[in-house]
């Protein structure tokens, strides 16, 4: 672990409509490592990434990246800051009107004045790193889900960012693709000296590469620590999540009236 954290989240509050999603979250993402943010589905992990990326504005608290308060920045400064970040979306989010090569070249074209040959070399390097140099002429619609995510990864690292955010990189992938992505995230992190934030609920894959883990549930940080220390944590909710038990402190049932009364159509005083 290195000196000052790259991303600091302090007392973050956020609610969507009536529903409170975060009730005071504190996170510190150390420089140069892979930090995993885990938690059951629906706890707002993707929302957290969007808050860090400055796409959503919190109700309270702040997000500081490299000493800059993300939500106090002007639109122009925010876009400048984002050039130093890469984000891998759950769906890949490739531009459907551009082919694979143009997708990877896109950030280079819009943010640099490099000559065409250099853009070509850089884009091909990134594609080579994810093993899809041969697929450069394909359109996004022709790619499998795993390939699309790898192309999106190549695009996310096209500008050699300092910080890469991964939104559910393993979800919906077959075991081989999962293995490939785990390898890629780890290798890229080491080779490029990135700081990575991985948001996921795939426990095995995430724990195998993470240096530090935050577990979020109920709008709060439930536990944090290195993967080894986390398993023995005594918090029942965390251990339920880590061990993948179907019911426990995190309930199997969505909050509802008493089943018996509901079935019989009895009025319930609420």
């Amino acid at each position: 672990m290195m000196d000052s954290p790259v991303v600091e989240v302090e007392g973050l509050h956020f609610s969507r409509g009536e529903k409170e999603i975060f009730r005071g979250i504190d996170l510190q993402i150390p420089r140069g490592g892979i930090t995993a943010i885990m938690g059951p589905s629906g706890t707002g992990k993707t929302t957290l990434l969007k808050l860090i990326g400055g796409q959503l504005v919190p109700d309270g608290g702040r997000v500081v990246i490299d000493g800059q308060d993300v939500h106090a920045l002007s639109r122009r400064d925010l876009f400048r800051l984002r050039r130093r970040m890469g984000m891998l979306f759950q769906s890949g989010a490739l531009f459907s009107d551009l082919n694979v090569f143009e997708n990877v070249a896109f950030p280079l074209r819009v943010h640099t004045d490099l000559p065409e040959t250099m853009i070509r070399d850089l884009a091909l390097m990134k594609l080579q790193a994810v093993g899809l140099r041969g697929a450069r002429e394909l359109m996004p619609a022709e790619l499998s889900g795993g390939m699309a995510r790898r192309v999106a990864l190549a695009r996310a690292i096209a500008l050699d960012p300092e910080l890469v955010l991964y939104d559910e990189p393993f979800v919906g992938q077959d075991p081989i693709s999962k293995g490939v992505l785990v390898q890629l995230i780890k290798r890229l992190n080491e080779a490029l000296g990135l700081t990575s934030i991985v948001v996921s609920h795939d426990i095995q894959e995430t724990l195998s590469i993470a240096d530090y883990v935050y577990v979020i549930a109920d709008g709060q940080v439930m536990a944090h620590g290195t993967p080894d220390s986390l398993d023995i944590d005594e918090d029942p909710r965390v251990s339920q999540f880590i061990h993948g038990e179907p019911d426990g402190p995190v309930p199997f049932h969505y909050p509802a009236d008493d089943f018996f009364n509901d079935i019989l159509g009895l009025e319930v005083q609420s």
């Binding site: 984002r82 984000m87 989010a93």
Partner: protein, 260 residues
């Protein structure tokens, strides 16, 4: 009663808020500095909303001109005034039918497609990822489409008028036997370049702005689900048709109503 009143107030606030948001949206996208590839993006959109809409606009224009001549002839011939056919066809086309019908066709053909396209880009997180790459989608995605629509519709309207006048000529002169010279000379005597052609063009510029604006904003603002996209597409067509017809009345009153 109080509840209904409050509901009405809330609806009113929602409408005002949406108007404000869409106004900001329009300003930010049209006034922003174009991106470096702005030109080629604009050309691509011009091709999509302009060139590809040409066929439907021209075919409709031809038929409308022909119908106008046929209907006008049967009425005018009762007064022995069939030599005024050219004047009737040209004035109805230039002042009313070309701007309005072309705008309605444009809303159906290009507007709905723009909404669906941008909506799908939003649903598949392409807009969000563009923002994360540090590119403003308002400039990159929205602005070229707005400008393309703004330029394309007036050109389509001109095409509609030209082919409509020609359609009227086909039916009136070639088929019904109106004297060719009086078809054109009556037209030329009564059509003013500024007051008729110019005002028609101003109308179609206004319609172009409004229709493209509605289409693009509905796409950008929709709920990113398949249901949301289909609703927004419908809304685009409905709102822009209503806006075109309503604005047409206002503009006609201002231009030809004699309140100056």
């Amino acid at each position: 009663m109080m509840g209904q009143l409050r509901g009405l107030g809330r609806r009113g606030c929602d409408v005002l808020e949406a108007l404000g948001r869409s106004g900001l949206f329009l300003g930010q996208s049209m006034l922003g500095v174009p991106s470096r590839e702005g030109w080629s993006l604009w050309v691509r959109q011009m091709h999509f909303v302009g060139v590809l809409s040409l066929a439907i606009v021209l075919v409709s224009g031809l038929f409308i001109g022909m119908v106008l001549a046929l209907q006008g002839y049967t009425i005018l011939v009762d007064f022995g005034a069939e030599q005024a056919l050219g004047q009737m066809v040209a004035l109805s086309l230039l002042r009313e039918l070309s701007p309005v019908v072309a705008a309605l066709l444009f809303a159906g053909r290009a507007g709905s497609a723009l909404t669906a396209e941008i909506g799908l880009m939003k649903a598949t997180e392409q807009l969000t990822s563009m923002e994360m790459i540090g590119v403003d989608p308002l400039r990159r995605v929205v602005a070229p489409r707005l400008w393309a629509g703004f330029v394309a519709l007036p050109l389509l309207t001109v095409g509609f008028s030209v082919i409509g006048v020609y359609g009227g000529y086909l039916v009136g002169v070639e088929w019904l036997g109106v004297f060719e010279g009086s078809y054109w000379s009556n037209m030329q005597a009564s059509v003013g370049f500024v007051e008729d052609i110019g005002n028609g063009l101003v109308k179609s510029l206004v319609f172009a702005l409004v229709v493209t604006w509605i289409a693009v904003f509905q796409g950008y603002d929709l709920v990113p689900t398949s249901e949301g996209i289909s609703r927004a597409t419908t809304r685009t067509v409905v709102y822009s048709s209503l806006a075109v017809l309503g604005l047409d009345f206002v503009l006609t009153a201002l231009m030809f109503g004699g309140f100056s």
